[in-house]
Subunit: 730 residues, 2 copies
């Protein structure tokens, strides 16, 4: 045991006595195979090897224009090595010292991954160029011209995904002669959504184009009736990203043998994308203080994050849900697992499969902000990835929800999924992994409790439709949203919805048992679009659904909230008395002034208004809630001229500070798949109403349509961004 | 946010913006409730409170001979506070300044746990002494004599388990007056296997006596045909153990709200009992070097371990599987979850739901020790706990397997279960949690691969019955083993077994597809009992099941192995040629000398013999394996005289070094439930053939039958122990 323990004490210290070899859990590690491996005893000195095949060259045929990368849909990878997908043939060309004679020469290719490779574990794979020979991967001779032989190799559909070392070995009667290890002969094997026997197979070419190959994306946020679309550069093909994704698994010490299973890869990554427990990629921070890192709203894409993580080997600061989801998406698409980012509006969170979010009102009907401790996230982002689920009964394959945002009250673990979306919709939440959490995120009820003087609480009203209002993802091939709500649940008040709800309750999901008659007076906070800094009127609509007079004593409270629904400063408090004739509808407006909220804004500028009240006739509780997302000013980007491959192109970013106060320490970031590595600019101040101008340039790496995105971020103003479509000419 | 962040930076730093209050995950934390809580405005100075009830005393009736502890089966707890179980009434006696008048006085009891208590989360529980009043816990007046009122309180059957603070509060028109917090009024609420509506309800009184109340246990180890029984003091009622168990959950930051769910408690604890990830209770070490801690074989029970963990707040060194299982068992029984330790003989491990253990033989049939990297544990211990499983379809409640020994190649997480034993038996491994791992531990196949010269492997023989040979636990009310094998699987070669196997394969369990015809020659290594230091003959039995002559070229290898099956030094290598007439059975003996193995022994003294060979006629591979556990010399304990409660009793421990060499640095430990806190003695040397004498004394704490156990441990000799039954007279 003469290991250099000081170098990696954590891993080496305790396997002795526990296992014959330490668990291979790093793609980066692995000893080289010997160049000569003798068979038993050799009587007299080194054998005369001259008569046997000698290997002059091994050509991995890995140029972007060669057939391997084209046919495996990997030519977008900015990676000089061979990148191919499993369950599909690729080619390697070997040049010998003389023509290959199948009748007397015997050679094989060997693919090796990680330390202590073993054939029975799929980490050492000999491939004979003989289709009749059984083996994990198939091999055959495609052609043999002069002393050049082209071999076709097909990795097994359950092959480990990662970076393999390649050797060519010649069998002689004395032993095996093999090529020396050359890093340029390493080959990446990826998941293959194009192969019908790969568990991540996806039939539709347009879907594969979006969910595997598309590098630019949209993350939806805001409010269900006023959705904003933030551009994101997933950048899964950018230089270094593939290696960074493999590093994510190495760092999480994921056993190599598990890396061919998309279920295990997705599950492991849901833990490894966040830094909790395992020093994963991203550190969460919702506090508003990002002094020691980058504000979550400032990122333009995943490339900078993943490259920094792999280079510094330290978690990157900071993330909130959409950053986690976007980086996770890059990871999945990069390895070849079809994936998309979804946004759930009004998302119950941190509630550990409990189906209630509690709001406590006092005897008058006024919200008790001190005792109300739960919050509903204005929106929450997670991912879906596409795969079969052989570990579950039939019918639960397809899209699987995974979430890498750490759930504070989850099972003590900061990972979630994959959970079958189909199982969630149908209430079959007894199947792994973590289905009750996702089910609760889209199905929780909001329960209003009335608290009496002695501290006793009584449920007074339940809102079953507020949570999980809408689930969106980016449409295939376009920037518009595509609604997935009906993938997660049946329509409210249908027979199916009630059946599913009963089924979930059968699995211990504790739905509140209160079923008060709906009040005959309804109130709604009307949706509206408001720009930050504006005075506006909040419109409330009261409807009397009864044939009698009704008098409502209502309380309107407005709070600045984080996107997590956590309240910060109060901006509005008003009491209203509304009297309604039978069947009457009445609109009431409440003035909100910019001076009331501007100094209190936090993060993403959301105002949360809640109306609660008591109907004098019969003491029914009425309630309504709405988040008003204050619109921030837009950036503008202009590309000057027609961008061409490898030619410098100028771009101009313009912005005007709309406020009467200066913006301090302003961070700008620019990014675009195939266009540039992420660029960054810092302005220490933009004066009141002052302009900002950032002239920049880039040199496109490849032709075709792509996008250029810019963000602006400072303490007083977050979520400012823009994107333009750029069509790069050859 | 003026939190003293320096004191606990990890927990406080990031909830701002993410949640209104940090998640309550510590039973030890929690602010005191105010002594006076006014209702709204009070016009003129403090109100005249004199006319309202004043509380003079609150008596928790927590003496061991009072009815609370007796009826709740908690009188064994060495704990001065009230310890009761949920879903069963307990009593509290309140003395007021005058007689209580239900027509005008209003009082309530309040039970509070953790920080930020909320009624809707079950962490703040008001109890009115009025059975008609709805509430989480029920209350009623049992009697009212003079100014003393006895209140009966029944905690909800899903109540949080832990230590609650108790207040008595009187309602006045001006506000609530409540008692000051007094630590002696704290009450522990535990799970209740005696209550039919508690999810841990266990019907049989004898089973409850064993699986909840029994403090001394047996952990089985050794080999299936030569089982050894190690005594263990679970000590779940010893002073400090209950608080230590609550600390285990606090340290693991388990949200308080989850602590009423036995599924979540068992799952969390399976992670928190080992130190991986979360600085849990025990550090694993299988290396044989225990210089910086206590050797796993040296412990006598769980008390010392749990008390040390709670006191030092550091993981305790060291554990192997039975230590993890035994401490986990203490935790479960202490909180009131029925539990037992089970031992699986020949346990596949570390294989992540893969159903194969690979052994590689060369072309001659000889085991290739360099390339064979898998190992089968001679035995492995885990736990079963008893509960309903509302999160699963019906039929999977009952015993659940949980395992706190860290699985090196598991899902990246060092926890396992609860998995329904019923589901494992029937192959329904699609249900949480971690059923495939346990299924594989009892059902894996041993696959012999033949490796040809070019490195290719071909499966040559499969042994389907070696793994999971026998599962044992201690019998109810006795020290003999009780076999559970048929709880985990159907008998080999039955129709049921084949159906289950097919079902598990349907869930992606990759059973090796080879189905070679059984060889017509069988070989067996016969079981035998050998004492350490003896020369012995290893008996092999070859049977020819054919009508033809057979010649077998066999290799016998013997290795010193750890109990994990990991091989250390070779002790025997012999080749045999056996010729058999048709239908003949022949015994062959191989000599093994003590000098061959004595200097090479590691840990628990196991020798692993493997016979593999090739039949000349037809090249079938035959194989057999057996572990020979070398018996170690016994200790002897003698109790002198008749022990009586609170009287000092003498005890004498005797041992003789049977070897020609001296035993150095010998550690002895003595322990016994109700008899003593664990005692420890160190001898620096026992000369060759020399005696050891340890006179000790103890003072029993309670009457009745119990056990006294002693262990001896040193580098050269492990698993030396003895126990005696002690009947303490009152």
């Amino acid at each position: 045991m003469s290991q250099p323990e000081s170098e990696s004490p954590k891993k080496k210290v305790s396997f002795r006595g526990r296992s014959n070899v330490p668990v291979a859990n790093s793609n980066a590690e692995g000893e080289d195979a010997p160049e000569f491996e003798p068979f038993g005893l050799m009587p007299r000195g080194p054998p005369p090897l001259a008569e046997f095949l000698d290997i002059w060259d091994v050509n991995m045929l890995c140029k972007p224009n060669e057939s391997n990368k084209k046919e495996h849909h990997t030519s977008l990878f900015s990676n000089p090595l061979l990148v191919v997908r499993r369950a599909q043939e690729f080619q390697i060309r070997i040049t010998f010292n003389r023509a290959y004679d199948p009748s007397k020469d015997q050679f094989l290719l060997e693919f090796v991954i990680g330390a202590s490779p073993q054939m029975s574990k799929g980490t050492y794979i000999p491939v004979f160029p003989d289709p009749g020979r059984r083996g994990l991967w198939r091999g055959r001779i495609l052609d043999s011209i002069d002393n050049m032989v082209t071999v076709g190799i097909t990795a097994a559909p359950d092959s480990i995904v990662g970076k393999f070392r390649t050797y060519v070995a010649v069998l002689t009667p004395y032993g095996i002669r093999r090529t020396r290890r050359e890093p340029k002969r390493d080959v990446y094997i990826l998941f293959n959504p194009w192969a019908s026997d790969d568990p991540v197979f996806l039939k539709d070419e347009a879907e594969r184009g979006e969910y595997v190959l598309e590098e630019s994306g949209i993350v939806y946020h805001g409010e269900a009736s006023d959705v904003s679309a933030r551009p994101w550069n997933f950048g899964q093909f950018e230089y270094g990203v593939l290696d960074a994704c493999l590093y994510v698994m190495d760092r999480a010490e994921m056993p190599i043998t598990n890396r061919g299973d998309p279920i295990k890869v997705a599950r492991k990554a849901s833990a490894a994308i966040n830094s909790k427990d395992d020093d994963g990629v991203l550190v969460g921070n919702w506090s508003g203080d990002y002094s020691y890192g980058v504000a979550p709203t400032s990122w333009t894409g995943s490339v900078e994050i993943l490259i920094t993580y792999a280079a510094t080997k330290q978690p990157v600061a900071y993330a909130q849900c959409w950053v986690y989801a976007a980086v996770f998406n890059t990871f999945l698409r990069c390895l070849g697992i079809p994936a998309r980012v979804v946004t759930n509006f009004y998302s119950a969170h941190d509630n550990d499969g409990n189906l209630k979010t509690d709001i406590i009102v006092d005897e008058e009907g006024k919200v008790d902000r001190v005792r109300t401790k739960d919050s509903i996230w204005n929106y929450h982002c997670w991912n879906e990835c596409y795969m079969t689920r052989p570990d579950l009964p039939q019918g639960f394959g397809g899209w699987q929800a995974v979430d890498s945002t750490p759930q504070e009250t989850s099972d003590g673990l900061y990972r979630c999924g994959p959970a079958s979306v189909q199982a969630i919709k149908h209430g079959h939440i007894c199947y792994p992994f973590d289905a009750p959490f996702i089910y609760a995120e889209v199905n929780s009820d909001v329960v209003f409790y009335k608290r009496d003087k002695s501290g006793n609480l009584e449920a007074a009203r339940v809102n079953r439709s507020h949570v999980g209002r809408m689930v969106l993802t980016k449409a295939i091939g376009g920037d518009q949203p595509f609604e997935l709500t009906n993938q997660y649940k049946f329509a409210e008040d249908t027979e199916e919805e009630r059946t599913v709800s009963a089924k979930a309750e059968g699995y211990g999901m504790d739905r509140p048992k209160v079923n008060y008659p709906e009040p005959d007076v309804k109130v709604e906070v009307l949706a509206q679009e408001v720009s930050i800094g504006d005075d506006f009127q909040l419109d409330l609509e009261f409807k009397n659904h009864s044939g009698e007079h009704r008098t409502i004593n209502a309380f309107v409270t407005g709070y600045v909230v984080y996107y997590t629904g956590v309240t910060s400063g109060e901006v509005k408090y008003e009491t209203l008395k509304v009297t309604l004739d039978p069947w009457q509808t009445e609109r009431v407006s409440v003035d909100v002034h910019s001076k009331d909220y501007m100094s209190k804004l936090v993060e993403q500028s959301n105002l949360h208004f809640m109306v609660t009240g008591r109907v004098e006739e019969g003491s029914q509780i009425v309630s309504a809630m709405r988040v008003i997302t204050l619109h921030v000013p837009k950036l503008s980007i202009k590309v000057i001229g027609d961008p061409r491959v490898n030619e410098e192109t100028l771009v101009s970013v313009e912005f005007t500070n709309p406020f009467q106060f200066s913006l301090d320490s302003v961070h700008l970031r620019m990014d675009g798949p195939g266009l540039m590595t992420p660029k960054y600019k810092h302005f220490s101040v933009i004066p009141p109403n002052g302009p900002l101008h950032w002239p920049e340039s880039f040199t496109p790496r490849r032709a075709g349509p792509t996008k250029l995105m810019v963000t602006l971020d400072c303490l007083a103003l977050r979520q400012v961004y823009d994107q333009v479509v750029v069509n790069v000419k050859p």
